[in-house]
């Protein structure tokens, strides 16, 4: 009988097994697993061996192309064979284009642009999908059709790039945008209600609690009129702290607030981190408070606002500011909460300290110990100790206060070092070897110099000294090193963002591209060669972020069919396969359409002149790169339907006629055949309307 027992156990096991096979979705689990596997074979990485023949062949090519040995080395460091991917990704501001550029490093290939502040037809951004995002960026009710994108910031967790979101400011219109890095699409634009220009946007606090937007040209806050003659009384600067709701992937405007600042032209900002967590640093120019049109003797405005030897570094305790805001210490200006200068001073939120005049970069070192100010008109970078700043604030070591009553910390008490680098220091980033890199605009060079403090042990040179300068072509603005403004920079690569290209490329007419130059910063010491030039002929990029590529996890198809990229979830009203139809309700017509290679269903849509049309369309595709376009000529309609995406658009049927609609992406061998007719009938009702539902 003992033999019977295992059999019952087996039967039980079978019952459980079979039951489980119904409950647990084995094929789904298997599919998830195989999706993760890289099925493609790895490129054969057998070591290269050069023999006499190959050396002769390569030498011949080099000589025919007039390449020097260092050129060959640069080529080998940057060339990517087809199908291999870059180690780093740059997100660069697109300047006047109002876009963001996504560039691979070290290949320096433009991977794509991301439409942000400007309607962009390829991505179907604003045609009309995305119109509501753009509409949130209106100024005083007026559509703004471009942006001057300046400073992108990647979202951070603990001061490290986390690869989830990108923020970017629009200097021309004082706006901020949020880009979701899962689908590289703009999800939100917020317009600053206080001002019309900004510059210090965007910089994040170490956990992206806040996105900092510092203003630029002082105006009356809240966008009101005041005579320029009343500058000191009526004009103000500001810094806005936009609260970021990471779970929602949006700025929470209701939890955001601003600080009123003196009408110095605030410029760049940076957030403290680690040792200086809780502080925000922002610099300024024109503390002379001269105004355009107001000349001092024979001196014009630009000279007038550089009369003094120093401007002011702003030091803001954002954690204190957050508490004051929470306690109701802010007043509404144009509906937006603003902490006044007086409150900020009384609560110990704001103080100033002198900085070399007309600076640009204010860059906190990775450990948060120092802040480096690059004063464009001073050959030094000035290094401040954040510890000394905190001590000076605690001890109230003021050298006085400015005309607005803001205490000014004694310069000598907070300054750590001044390092002479050359002419026109502009912006600084860091590497993993204890070096700092500063762009020198007038010298057209990148300076490598040594940090002191705990960084002194990381390099072999004397601290606080220039190590080397590499000439770049030409007039470098910002620079970006690999994760160079995070708490753990990677070194390896640096890109000089040059304003002029002059003779570097074939002339493109009087308007020349910018020049991004890749610089190899992998070796310590004085060797720091330029490897590659990349022309940027789309706009003038300002700042960029360079992130390790494997930190980004972009989707290649949307997670499910019927996806709404705006909510990043399935749209429950999205059209499903088999449910295509056209529904009429008086003058309201709703089209339920699907798109799949190579067919729109339904492919004939007949309406009457003046009908209000809601057109819903879902891409049924679930394979990589199977994007469909959908355009109707004459209507400014062009959608980019990425795999799985669902869209809903509204428009009014116009002049009677026959409007072919077609797929604007070459999706398949029968792409040209992927079309339909949108027929608008005259309103006299002579033609009978037929209910059409085709598949």
């Amino acid at each position: 009988m003992s033999l019977r027992i295992p059999i019952s156990v087996l039967s039980l096991a079978m019952t459980i097994g079979v039951g489980a096979s119904f409950v647990y979705d084995v094929p789904e689990a298997y599919a998830q697993d195989t999706k993760k596997k890289q099925r493609r074979k790895e490129v054969d990485a057998a070591p290269v061996e050069l023999n006499a023949t190959t050396v002769a062949e390569l030498t011949k090519i080099a000589n025919e192309r007039k390449l020097r040995v260092e050129d060959l080395s640069a080529a080998l460091k940057t060339y990517l064979p087809s199908g291999t991917h870059d180690d780093y990704i740059i997100f660069a501001s697109g300047g006047h284009s109002g876009q963001v550029f996504m560039i691979g490093v070290p290949s320096m290939r433009l991977l794509r642009t991301i439409a942000v502040f400007t309607p962009e037809p390829w991505q179907g951004y604003g045609y009309p999908v995305g119109e509501e995002i753009l509409a949130a960026g209106k100024h005083e009710g007026k559509d703004i059709l471009w942006g001057d994108t300046h400073h992108p910031a990647l979202s951070e967790t603990g001061g490290e790039y986390d690869g989830q979101y990108l923020f970017i400011g629009d200097k021309a219109n004082a706006r901020l945008a949020v880009i979701d890095l899962r689908d590289m699409e703009t999800k939100q634009i917020v317009k600053n209600p206080l001002t019309i220009s900004d510059h210090g946007a965007s910089f994040v606090t170490p956990d992206s609690d806040y996105i900092v937007e510092g203003g630029q040209y002082s105006t009356p806050l809240g966008f009101n009129y005041a005579s320029v003659d009343d500058y000191q009384a009526a004009y103000r600067g500001m810094v806005t702290l936009w609260k970021f709701d990471r779970a929602a992937g949006r700025v929470d405007v209701k939890k955001s607030f601003a600080l009123e600042l003196p009408p110095y032209f605030q410029d760049l900002f940076d957030s403290g981190k680690k040792a200086s967590d809780g502080l925000i640093f922002g610099n300024s120019f024109c503390v002379e408070s001269v105004t355009p049109g107001f000349n001092i003797g024979e001196v014009n405005f630009e000279a007038g606002c550089s009369q003094r030897d120093t401007d002011y570094l702003h030091i803001i305790d954002w954690k204190k500011a957050e508490k004051v805001f929470a306690k109701g210490g802010a007043k509404l200006v144009n509906g937006f909460p603003v902490i006044s200068i007086k409150t900020a001073v009384d609560e110990g939120i704001l103080c100033l300290t002198p900085e070399p005049k007309s600076p640009h970069g204010v860059d906190v070192t990775p450990n948060g110990e120092f802040v480096v100010i690059a004063g464009k008109l001073d050959p030094h970078v000035t290094v401040y100790s954040t510890k000394k700043i905190r001590e000076a604030i605690a001890a109230k070591k003021y050298s006085g206060s400015d005309v607005y009553g803001v205490p000014v910390l004694d310069f000598d008490s907070v300054m750590e070092k001044q390092v002479e680098l050359g002419l026109g220091p502009l912006h600084t980033q860091y590497d993993d070897k204890g070096y700092a890199y500063t762009s020198l605009f007038l010298d057209s060079a990148v300076a490598r110099w040594t940090l002191g403090g705990e960084y002194a042990s990381k390099h072999s040179e004397e601290p606080w000294k220039l190590v080397t300068k590499t000439p770049v072509q030409y007039n470098i603005g910002h620079l970006v090193a690999a994760e160079g403004d995070s708490v753990s920079p990677d070194g390896r690569y640096l890109v000089a963002m040059n304003k002029w290209s002059l003779d570097r490329f074939f002339p493109t007419g009087p308007l020349l591209p910018q020049n991004f130059q890749l610089v190899d910063i992998n070796n310590p010491g004085t060797v720091m060669p330029v490897l590659y030039d990349m022309p940027v002929g789309v706009g003038e990029p300002h700042y960029a972020q360079m992130i390790k590529a494997d930190k980004l996890k972009p989707w290649t198809v949307y997670p499910a069919i019927g996806w709404n990229p705006q909510t990043q979830s399935i749209d429950p009203t999205a059209v499903k396969a088999g449910e295509e139809k056209i529904v009429r309700d008086g003058h309201d017509v709703t089209v339920y359409m699907t798109a799949v290679r190579s067919h729109f269903a339904p492919d004939r849509v007949e309406v009457t002149e003046g009908d209000n049309i809601t057109w819903k369309i879902t891409s049924l595709e679930q394979s990589i790169d199977t994007t469909h376009g959908f355009c109707i000529g004459g209507y400014n309609i062009n959608l980019s339907l990425e795999p799985g995406e669902a869209a809903t658009i509204h428009f009014k049927a116009g002049k009677p006629g026959v409007y072919p609609f077609y797929c604007t992406e070459f999706c398949s061998a029968l792409h040209l055949e992927m079309l339909g007719y949108f027929v608008v009938k005259p309103a006299d009702g002579a033609v009978k309307v037929t209910e059409a539902s085709s598949k």
Binding site: I7, A13, V18, V26, Y30, T34, Q38, G83, E621
Partner: protein
Amino acid sequence: MSRHSLFSLMGPRVSDQELLTRGARYAAPTVTLALARILLVVSIFFPYWSMMLEAPQYPDGLEIVAFVNTLAGDVQEVDGLNHYIGMRPLGEAASFERASSVWMIVAMFLLIEGAASVRSRWAVLLVLPALLFPLGFIVDLQFWLHHFGQNLDPHAPLSSSVKPFTAPAIGVGEIGQFRTIARLETGWWLAAAGSLVTVVGLVLHRRAYKPLHDAAKHRGAIGVAG
């Protein structure tokens, strides 16, 4: 049922004395056939068959994976491509088989359990479905591949360039710009191993119970052991 027919079905009883002295001999078929059952049930959780489709524009390939009860992998994409040549959606193939397979496996499981319980040659008949199941799977698969490949919609866009075809159930085929590589997967091999173990079980079954039969016949008596 008469005592005789019951005997011919169940076979001779094994006395407790016999079990104690030669336990291993009788345990062997029981344990072996238990293993066969386990293999069969476990196979449900693994793919039986896969077809990889390679083409220039699919550097990672497309993969169709068949479980006994469902299809997985890039079914939607392959269906999308197939509509150009007029092939019906893969989901319409072998729908009866997929719907009933788990129950068929339950039945086969119980039949093997029956085989382990009887002490007669009926055991052979009882394990026969499970024994032939892996072979049957391949035959059925090839039938459907043939049926689908041969019955293309003549109005399909590419009907002029892609003629009816039969993709091999195992091995390499070619259709349009695609190369198809079909192979048996873990689940099938588990079921096949189950078959093999079943054969071993049968041999052990025969070794254990044949002598009892022969002895019973020899004595010409029924129910000696009872």
